[in-house]
Symmetry: C2
Subunit: 407 residues, 2 copies
């Protein structure tokens, strides 16, 4: 597996475009289209929030009933959630306008929206935008990059990742894009993410691979513990690589899962790093836990604790808050076994051994915690399982961004 440049247009047969539809943001692109030249196997995971946005309901239906799809049309600025029947109609109009421009059936067009909840989409501008997108499609990496930029809301940079690997002598390419960066606490679901590949694979296995990979990537990040109404991750596999279609869980399937996992984790990690107001990525790894499930719960408890997040923001090695977060996670463990470490490019430091504090250099601790990427390792010394979760610090800017988001 080789990391390559690009995103949704990295794989053969995928094109993208973006446009200024003036939905909410001014002087920037705010709609994107991803298109496969031929129908592609489709799979997806969606928010578990009871309140589901119109595009989520639309997409769940397509993934459930269709073997294939061919396009994803996305807008930023308005989430089209809590918009009732009028919102469903606006969503269908957006899909239909794109379908008409592309000359494909409406049910081949997935949709995704992100932005403020409870506001209706401007149907005229969104349908005009969808039509314009059809005429701007381009297979270049730049087109994919511009699409990734157009779906940003409070993100400060676009998120893309792509890899190449081989199956039966054929080069498979897999690329994706995603956006954050607030209301991020995916739960059996993910934030907005579109992944494309030229792999030939059955729909059933495509869905299985995605569902599996999402658990350890997108579902292991949190910015603010708020699970969105719009979480969507879709993957399109158009088979243009010409490999023998994967229809069983063989070695080829495992190669694909590994590549998909890499792309998903890279996108997820960047969503955490670029969390609203964040200045640092916090990677929380739990080792020697009794079970994988417990390791995941413990790792997530650390990165979701407001007190851990503010301590990291202040570069304060207040390790008691980490033990406290592990303690209320719901997992039973022996506190007198826990060792804690912090690590960054500046070095590694043990802060706590067997549940009580160690002597450590406050100077080095502050240096480590001042770096852009900080790893907190919790060694439970009780088993052999481990898990990693990604989050970010809690800063003044998070409060600023969210104290006045609508205006």
């Amino acid at each position: 597996m080789k990391q390559i440049k690009g995103g949704v247009t990295a794989a053969e047969g995928f094109l993208a475009s973006c446009t200024e539809a003036n939905i909410k943001y001014k002087d920037r692109t705010d709609m994107a289209l991803v298109f496969s030249k031929i129908p592609a196997k489709v799979a997806g995971t969606f928010t578990t929030n009871v309140v589901k946005a119109a595009p989520v309901k639309w997409g769940m239906n397509i993934v459930k009933n269709n073997e294939e799809a061919q396009a994803v049309v996305i807008n930023s600025g308005i989430a089209n959630a809590c918009t009732s029947k009028e919102g469903d109609e606006a969503n269908e109009a957006m899909a239909a306008a794109a379908a008409e421009a592309l000359g494909i059936p409406t049910e081949y067009v997935l949709t995704a929206s992100t932005g403020v909840i409870g506001v209706q989409l401007p149907v005229d501008r969104i349908t005009a935008g969808a039509k314009a997108l059809g005429g701007k499609l381009d297979a270049s990496l730049e087109a994919g990059h511009n699409a990734a930029k157009s779906i940003m809301t409070t993100d400060t940079y676009p998120k893309e990742a792509a890899v190449e690997f081989e199956i039966g002598g054929k080069v498979i390419t897999l690329g994706g894009m995603s956006k954050g960066s607030g209301m991020i606490h995916p739960d059996m679901a993910t934030m907005l993410s579109v992944i494309t590949t030229n792999l030939a694979i059955s729909k059933v296995l495509l869905q299985e691979a995605l569902s599996e990979v999402v658990k350890d990537s997108f579902n292991m990040i949190s910015v603010d513990r708020d699970t969105s109404t719009n979480d969507t991750c879709v993957i399109l596999a158009n088979g243009l690589a010409g490999n023998v279609e994967i229809t069983e869980k063989n070695e080829d399937f495992n190669k694909f899962v590994e590549a998909l996992s890499y792309v998903a984790k890279t996108l997820a990690r960047n969503m955490a790093k670029d969390g609203e107001g964040a200045t640092k990525l916090i990677e929380s790894t739990v080792i020697h836990a009794v079970s994988k499930a417990q390791a995941k719960i413990l790792a997530k408890a650390v990165i979701t604790s407001s007190l851990v997040k503010t301590a990291v923001y202040g570069s304060d090695a207040n390790w008691g808050r980490i033990v406290c977060a592990l303690g209320y996670s719901g997992v039973d463990f022996d506190p007198e076994k826990v060792d804690l470490y912090i690590e960054s490019v500046s070095g590694k430091l043990k802060l706590c051994e067997n549940g009580t504090g160690c002597e450590f250099s406050e100077e080095l601790a502050t240096k480590i915690l001042s770096d852009e990427e900080v790893t907190i390792t919790s060694d439970m010394k009780s088993g052999s399982e481990q898990a990693t979760a990604w989050g970010c610090d809690l800063t003044y800017d998070y409060v600023k961004i969210n104290g006045d988001y609508r205006s």
Copy 2:
């Protein structure tokens, strides 16, 4: 039931004192003692965090094994959590020093600590402080008030409440104190709180009343979703009112529960209002839910959402975030039935009807959300149960306080 002035010394036979033990804070009192002239029935609830502070383990043991207790000694500045055997010994030394000064058995002395985790108590200063407290006991309301002040950490004001009610012609007094104001997310437990009464009641019923009341008061507040290692709520009932001892769940028991509920909710509400960095109290009431349990989960989801908290801070009527929080709470409901209201002394406004936005005056919405106490009502229109939870806004000052707490 009549609301009266005072706190832990309001009830007959209870004395309090405070002293400057110089544990962490300078130029202020940081230890308190609450004492009953005669042994009192004791009950308590404690943190469910797996990581339990030394005083929590000590107190759980006393409440489990003793019918009675007579004193509570408390320090602020250091939590005595994650301190291993050395911490247990320091805690016992603190109890023993107070017991010696009071001439009572050590196992009659409950302890509580609050402050930074993972630091050892200075045993010499804490035992000197405990002894000094014994000589300063006073039955005045002022002594109770000063005790409430000495247990504060990041609190900006002391929390006290007291009521009087009658049972069989005897006047029963019930008073309490508590402290917040970070790491507040009580879960089947509470933050530091001491409640006293001159009521005669069996230990079993005292515990039952406390456990019941805690569920709808302390367990329904949250400042930052972090369940502390030190949560403790103890109640002492010395029987000096001279009523016939309550030994069954009769009308007298109900009167007591009502009074206890009032005191606990008043203290809890004030802990939420004075949450770290808070400028506003958020009261979240869920009505017409299918069950009480669901109503509680829904009400708590609203006050724990960082996005709701920052929107209230910014006086922004971003109601979509409220619906979103209800949606990921884990409770299943029909989003298209939900109505939302905000209310304060400035008025009441419907923001959302049947899951979609209403026309409303942004001017009045901003005015309501700018008030010190804001009520959010979520009408599920699905049943007849309701619940209320209390929280606060998330502000720059929360980040400031917690970005550098240890120094």
